[in-house]
């Protein structure tokens, strides 16, 4: 039946996946325009672009989560029209999405085998222990040791939840794996697992589409890099000897100024202490933490993801209560015991887990931005809609949030733009002390640079910032001092200096 013509086609030049002239419009936003895209067998393809340029949209279409308005896709030269994510999985395409995709209240095993429960059904009953055993095997196969299959997933850390999703995507044995902005949620250990598995797929002639804002990482691991802008594909380049700076400029479409981080090489802040933390301990998480935060200081806190720094951040904002120790806002002689007091005393907090803790997804951008500032804009209990609008508009303008209007639900924003909304909440409130937990997670290079310069402005204005981060470059780049935590204890405090290196810090982290 197969004509010679058909056989010819099946030979050499048939790519693994071919996307042809795909368009996608959401209400008024044109997310994708005539996208043409090809992935060959055995290649790791980077996909980069500014926030809201359409990367996740393209990834969702390839993996069957949403449908294109028109255009077609071919897999191994045959028409490929996935109706759902499971459908795509059956065609050996799987994805780790940018947002959290595991379901609260189910166990790790149940999440892992969601939609595949029939494998473990006997006489209509679910064989839970069988499912747990298989999960254990799957997790171990990918080198994930510390996660128990029968644990309720809502008790897992953000990173571990991502790893479960990753295992789920690998379990499909995909020909094509899409990893959307996942590394930003992972610590060093998680990243190692991720890249090891990616290389393993490549060695078996499978392919990976890798989406990330960490351009260094993209250059290191990808064979080719496709650059998107405003829903269009601008270029595809071979990595070779490509430099990060060149890639950045391709991405932003203009030349970037030299400095990315701040330029001064010495710590610089006032002697006034604004926040005094003494002997703070939370059993099982961190111990005897004491430090002082000064006016106009950027204090970095770094360490491995489970070193206790994320919980420390929550405690400083009064969301967790420490077993012992105190947190004092010095100027007002006020000891912070809960989050309401913390806000009232000028502290703001940007959580790491933005979809669960940072945003109300089913509320407008305006409502989200204004919520912490309501007491500031009210006059005798009255909150004028005009003031709300103005506040939200100033916030979205400052961070250049890509949206259709301030009344748009946050659910429909791209990942990076969601992050900008969470940050904007605290910027418009004009807090004296900002605690930022991974503030630039999922944010593109251009906006990252503007956030760093914004932090610099705040610093000059006499605000103080505590920045918790897993990115050492970022810590070194913007902090006056860096506290390094290991297993919940302060190992070392570095002051800003010219020749501070990542290696030096890592030495105290592990």
């Amino acid at each position: 039946m197969a004509s010679t013509n058909g056989v010819m086609l099946q030979e050499e030049d048939v790519s693994l996946l071919r996307v042809d002239n795909i368009n996608k419009t959401f209400v008024t936003t044109r997310a994708l325009r005539d996208v043409k895209f090809e992935v060959e067998e055995g290649e790791i393809r980077g996909l980069v672009g500014e926030n809201g340029s359409g990367k996740s949209t393209l990834a969702s279409i390839i993996s069957g989560i949403i449908y294109p308005d028109n255009g077609e896709m071919l897999k191994h030269g045959k028409s490929y029209e996935p109706g759902s994510l499971l459908d795509a999985n059956r065609s050996k395409i799987s994805i780790v999405v940018q947002e959290m995709a595991t379901i609260d209240g189910l166990t790790v095993a149940a999440n892992l085998f969601l939609g595949e429960e029939k494998l473990f059904k006997k006489f209509g009953f679910l064989n839970t222990s069988g499912m747990n055993k298989s999960s254990m095997k799957v997790l171990q196969r990918f080198g994930i040791e510390n996660i128990k299959p029968d644990a309720d997933i809502s008790f897992l850390s953000f990173e571990d939840r991502k790893l479960v999703e990753f295992a789920k995507a690998l379990y499909v044995e995909p020909d094509l794996l899409i990893v959307d902005e996942t590394t930003a949620a992972l610590s060093q250990h998680g990243r190692e697992i991720l890249f090891r598995e990616i290389e393993r797929l490549k060695s078996k002639n499978r392919s990976v589409i890798f989406i990330s804002h960490d351009l260094g990482e993209v250059i290191e691991h990808c064979d080719h890099i496709t650059i998107m802008k405003d829903g269009e594909i601008v270029d595809t380049v071979t990595t070779g000897s490509l430099k990060e700076r060149a890639l950045k400029e391709l991405m932003v479409g203009r030349e970037l100024q030299q400095s990315y981080y701040r330029e001064d090489t010495e710590a610089f802040y006032s002697d006034d202490v604004v926040l005094g933390v003494s002997d703070l301990t939370l059993e099982g998480s961190y111990y005897n933490i004491s430090f002082e935060l000064h006016r106009g200081e950027v204090l970095g806190i770094g360490g491995l993801t489970n070193c206790g720094m994320h919980l420390l951040g929550k405690t400083l904002f009064g969301l967790e209560s420490a077993s012992s120790g105190t947190i004092e806002v010095v100027k007002r002689k006020k000891v912070i015991t809960n989050y309401v007091e913390a806000i009232a005393n000028g502290i703001g907090y940007l959580p790491k887990n933005r979809d669960q803790e940072g945003l109300m997804l089913l509320s407008s951008i305006k409502d989200n931005i204004c919520l912490p500032s309501l007491s500031k804009i009210q006059r005798n209990t009255f909150i004028s809609p005009r003031k709300e609008r103005e506040l939200a508009e100033s916030g979205t303008r400052q961070l250049n949030i890509k949206m259709s209007s301030i009344n748009q639900f946050c659910l429909y924003l791209s990942g990076g733009n969601k992050q900008k909304v969470t940050l904007s909440k605290w910027l418009v409130r004009d807090s004296d002390i900002l605690i930022l937990d991974c503030p630039t997670r999922g944010i593109d290079v251009a906006v990252k640079a503007s956030i760093y310069s914004l932090m610099q402005e705040l610093k000059v204005k006499g605000k103080s910032i505590i920045m918790i981060s897993e990115e050492l470059q970022e810590l070194i780049g913007v902090s006056d001092r860096i506290i390094v935590l290991k297993d919940g204890r302060i190992k070392r405090i570095f002051s800003r200096r010219k020749d501070l290196t990542e290696e030096e810090i890592i030495h105290y982290m592990i």
Binding site: V27, L319, Y339, V340, A342, I343, Y349, P351, Q356, E357, G358, L359, M360, L361, L362, S363, S364, D367, N368, C370, L371, P372, L374, S375, Q378, T381, F382, I383, S384, P385, L411, K425
Partner: protein, 307 residues
Amino acid sequence: MRKMRGIKKIIPYLGLIMIIILFSALTQGSLITFRNLKLIFNQAVVLIIACIGVTFVMSQGSLDLSQGSLLGISGAMAATFAALNTTLSLPMALLTGIAVGLINGSLLAFFKIPSFIITLCVLFILRGLTVIATHSGSIPIPFEMLELDSYQIKVPLLVTIIVIACYFFNYTKIGKSMRAIGSGEVSARYSGVPVERMKILAYLVSGVLCGLCGWLNVVRTGAADSKTGLLFELDILTALVLGGMPLTGGSSAKFHSAIIGGLMLAILSNGMVLVGIKAELQQAVKGVIFLLAVYLSFERESVVLIK
């Protein structure tokens, strides 16, 4: 999709108009005679006031099912104390409402049990207390109190409550914080909303307004009965859902739901009586309408469960 939203917004109004037209036709106009309109108003006052209270609770994504028995017990308290001194009756009814609101709210805030279970239990308990307080019968109120059942009191009262509640719901930190809890409790907390305080406050408002309804009801009927308020909580829920209130609460909770919904249900109940539908069947019809309203208004995008 945006268009869909726009249409959804006007569904309650369309529903109200349709119900008025339908029953006017079925009753050959006797629905909209002046005498009958007064009747509808009297029914609607109590319903709307109670709905306003529950609006605050539902905007947080919670439910208050204790209202039926609260109407009973606050009426019983009002009548019992009216026998001692008529000026005591209103404060006692309100205090009962406040107490019950505080209990509901505190149980929800501190024990983290789903609100419909808590308030359902409270519903049972209060019904029991109502039966005890009324000695399984009814307590009449002093004759002179019947004068209080006048439009000169009720119209200004209703208008005042609507204006104040609408102000707090739409233009203050309280209303906005409550809706924020409905949209995402964790994120609201992380943005500084005092979640526990707000939950208690919502049930307090709901309780005190229902206490007021209990008093209004006693004054109107002249007695507190052991069966007063049976299934009232479901009337409120139906009314609110008909008015477009989402069961999940959050940013799409609108204040007008209480008024439109209350009016709709009052007209519906009245119309069914006029048309001559049997009392037993009326309940069934309401049930079907409730189901239909939930089906039409359910936001499938929000997979959040009712807390």
